[in-house]
């Protein structure tokens, strides 16, 4: 179900629902980054593969922290269409249209920055709507965590200038395209 920030304000997430959303974001992010790392490694794009591995590790640490937060809460199992994301998918789900076998660390970090920003926006909207005190406090904490990740991505990105326009030039292209 696709929600808007207004939907999350008018029908706030309960503590249990908030934790279900938070755990889904992090566990899907871990898998997405691990998959991307494997894909890049297979294409001998080791530098970007290592970067995605580091992101997967970062998300795994965050997921472990969330599990600790949720240990006294019975987190419901939601069907994918029962989640109330601001988009069609969890905010840290990778948009495959942004993935390329010759992508550079700059592109990988831009992708991650987009995802972390979307996660931050989700928790901010959830916090604004939450009625339950503990849920609101946790949503604010999660939004702060994501804000920290956004900052890390921005700092990291500052070390990688945008690549040349022909970054995707392949002297031995896979396609017989004209």
């Amino acid at each position: 179900m696709k929600s808007t920030p207004e939907d999350l304000a008018s029908q706030p997430l309960s503590l249990e629902e908030l934790l279900a959303h938070a755990l889904a974001i992090e566990s899907e992010a871990v898998q997405s980054y691990e998959d991307l790392a494997a894909q890049m490694r297979q294409c001998d794009n080791t530098e970007v593969a290592d970067l995605f591995d580091r992101m997967a590790k970062l998300e795994a640490e965050h997921a472990a922290k969330l599990k600790e937060e949720a240990k006294d809460v019975e987190v419901p199992e939601l069907a994918p269409w029962e989640f109330r994301w601001l988009g069609l998918e969890a905010p840290e789900n990778i948009d495959l249209a942004g993935v390329h076998y010759l992508m550079t660390p700059y592109h990988a970090l831009k992708l991650a920055l987009t995802n972390e920003t979307a996660a931050m926006a989700f928790f901010e909207a959830a916090a604004a709507g939450c009625v339950d005190e503990r849920a609101r406090a946790l949503a604010i904490e999660f939004a702060d965590d994501e804000r920290q990740h956004v900052k890390w991505m921005q700092d990291w990105l500052a070390k990688y200038p945008p690549p040349d326009e022909d970054w995707d030039y392949d002297p031995d292209p896979p396609a017989a395209l004209g």
Binding site: A79, Y101, A175
Partner: protein, 277 residues
């Protein structure tokens, strides 16, 4: 549907140790994710699910799951899946492949699988190209797709899989988009749950040979009308749409093929005993 799992398995529990070798950015990654999520949601045990595929990039999917898998010959996923389901009606049988495998080499099997209405689900990852063999036009390629390999385009009208499936008697017809994994997962769940032959065309971009398909995410949209049980209405709708309507188009109520009603093939011939393990 097959027996439920005694414990809740996660989508990742259904993936094999074999890592996919699809190109980075390929839509098939999300189809794999949607399929594993669908099987996990239905709570099916891996040993109660058979994934049958033909040949092509997308047909590799049977190797990436830890359910029973059969990677058959080109275009023959449907007869293999039909045989498995008839022999083992307790299994959830899913056939999968691409547009070349399913609509060209296996095109005739599609017609008859729809007609027979055996309770299987057929997923076609349609990228309008033969990706594995370096980008030749497939039955769903636009006639004016101009490339070195088909200068000036093929000039041949594309195949309309959904219309063909409806006309041939499929009991469930849907279109999904790989870039919407949760929507695709829900469609697959409904396809598996619906009795009879369920056909799901999944628009799955080939970013290597059709980089223009990265734009599909901006073109897909929900259907303007709800699911119908009227095949002629569904056919009219799909003949006039832009090819980017996603959702469940048709749910029929035709009785699926049942072996108990139509006789047991091989019974008494000793053939079944020969294959006992």
């Amino acid at each position: 549907m097959s027996a439920q799992a005694p414990r809740k398995l996660k989508a990742s529990d259904y993936q094999s140790d074999c890592k996919p070798v699809w190109c980075p950015g390929c839509g098939d990654y999300h189809v794999l994710l949607s399929l594993t999520k669908a099987i996990a949601h239905l709570g099916l045990l891996p040993e109660n699910v058979a994934i049958v595929a033909g040949i092509g990039c997308s047909s590799r999917i049977s190797g990436y799951l830890n359910c029973y898998g059969f990677h058959g010959v080109h275009g023959r996923a449907l007869p293999l899946a039909t045989g498995i389901k008839v022999a083992r009606p307790d299994l959830t049988v899913i056939a999968a492949g691409g547009d070349g495998d399913g609509f060209s080499i296996g095109g005739n099997h599609l017609l008859h699988a729809c007609r027979r209405n055996v309770d299987i689900t057929y997923i076609v990852m349609d990228n309008e190209i033969y990706g594995m063999t370096k980008g030749q036009p497939s039955p769903t390629t636009a006639p004016d797709w101009d490339t070195k390999i088909a200068p000036g385009g093929t000039g041949i009208s594309p195949f309309h899989p959904l219309v063909i499936a409806l006309a041939s008697g499929a009991n469930f017809v849907a279109r999904a988009f790989s870039g919407d994994p949760n929507g695709t997962m829900r469609t697959i769940v409904e396809a598996i749950e619906h009795p009879g032959f369920s056909f799901v065309q999944i628009l799955s971009p080939c970013v290597t040979f059709r980089p223009d398909q990265r734009d599909w995410k901006n073109l897909v949209h929900p259907p303007p009308v709800t699911t119908t049980s009227d095949a002629s209405r569904a056919a009219r709708r799909v003949m006039t749409d832009d090819g980017f309507n996603i959702g469940i188009l048709y749910k029929g109520s035709r009785e699926p093929y049942r072996q108990s009603v139509h006789g047991e093939s091989g019974a008494g011939s000793g053939l079944d005993e020969e294959f006992l393990v």
